[in-house]
Symmetry: C2
């Protein structure tokens, strides 16, 4: 439904296909953060084997729950979110292929936010023991995951800037620019387009706007020839201008290799 941008994975267990490694978003992501060994890659491949399909709009964990292991997203899109008592929702992060949900939050005894799918997803649920064993025996992976966590945090800070100090059009433009780079980094976007399963309500709950206003902002971006949405796919028609409009500076994503301690 929203996975056309990436070759479909063989649903069968673990074919030790040497190229498969290139399509595993987790490996792809960690490889760009540290120099994984073949052994590292193999372990990650094994971990990613046991996937589970989760329909759209389904909670993986709720606020108040005790963390029940760690989720890894391999396909589709999920999010962290909170709800206010009157129902207002704020999305605080998008989780895309290659993202772990709760590597660290699992250390706390109670979730302070929920995690739910936005589109249909392929996820792996990994027991804490497995994770801890992985971290113990694979220092390079540990390091890469640490860096990934830092980037997640930096992204969260940028979202706060987005909601606090940008206009509606700018917020949406910024979000779309960010998603392009993040999805490219895991092989889920072409040079200017990606699968886009988000509804306008989702965008509203991400950017702190009303869905009606999101609609108007999207229309404005379209009319200015900046983007095009059709059939659950987003195409960026003029990345330069879109980035300029949003004052998008990708430094916070720390995309270039060489960040090792």
């Amino acid at each position: 439904m929203q996975d056309d941008a990436r070759p479909r994975k063989d649903p069968a267990g673990k074919p030790p296909d040497p190229d498969h490694t290139q399509t595993n978003p987790l490996i792809r992501k960690l490889d760009s953060l540290a120099s994984l060994s073949d052994a590292d890659r193999a372990v990650l491949e094994t971990i990613s084997a046991d996937t589970r399909s989760v329909p759209a709009h389904t909670d993986l964990i709720r606020e108040g729950d005790a963390p029940n292991g760690v989720y890894l997203i391999l396909e589709g899109m999920a999010c962290r979110y909170k709800r206010r008592s009157r129902g207002a929702r704020q999305i605080m992060a998008y989780l895309i292929p290659g993202d772990f949900c709760d590597l660290d939050v699992a250390m706390l005894k109670e979730m302070d936010h929920a995690i739910g799918t936005l589109s249909a997803c392929e996820v792996v649920q990994i027991p804490l023991d497995t994770i801890q064993e992985l971290l113990r025996s694979h220092p390079t992976i540990t390091h890469a995951l640490r860096l990934a966590t830092l980037v997640d945090e930096a992204t969260l800070r940028e979202w706060l800037v987005n909601v606090g100090r940008r206009s509606a059009d700018e917020r949406i433009a910024h979000l779309l620019c960010e998603l392009l780079l993040r999805l490219q980094a895991v092989g889920c976007a072409s040079s200017d387009a990606y699968a886009f399963p988000l509804t306008q309500v989702d965008l509203a709950d991400t950017t702190g706007l009303s869905s009606v206003h999101v609609n108007r902002s999207l229309a404005s971006l379209r009319e200015r020839g900046l983007i095009e949405i059709s059939d659950q796919h987003l195409r960026i028609l003029d990345l330069q201008r879109l980035q300029a409009l949003a004052e998008f500076k990708p430094n916070y994503l720390h995309l270039v290799r060489g960040a090792a301690a």
Copy 2:
């Protein structure tokens, strides 16, 4: 100027005063997250010895700089922030006594945000080597610092909810409730009051509002008998109602002990 809430520290080097440990905000904070040994406390005390005074409104690190070690705040208030090109500032975190600035961000090669003081501060600048040695040899401290980082992240998420989905009055009320609990946890607040060095411009840049509107919101909270500000001190007159107004739920601060893995 803003330290009346806490007994003044002996400015001389390291008097091995056994009670002093109780007034060190770092020890106080970590002690509430894990069970520190006397040895742990001693090391932390040593680390905190070499303090430096930094005037208000001074950058400790700028965006784009390479991280230059780790700062620890022992007195006063600092913040993480970013600026947009036209000058608009967004504050993304308050750093209060006991907070480390960049335990992890130091792993990245370039700062994606700045850190600056809001009031005059007492800080310690700790070289990376020292930190790494500390983490290697004191697992309990390491664990406590890990938890502290998670709480910082949870706080950041709550700030996003604040700016994205709360009204002006609610945002400010929420912020004031949060500060009360955080400052109490390090012994820098009484049951209903604390030193408050922030200007209305600072509050505006924190909450994504204009300073004029912050002024009006503060006035409204005052008129409703919820708070009182005088002489750089904030007193909360009706915590119940203030929390209710903001829909403040302290769960994200994970204040109770027992969160160990």
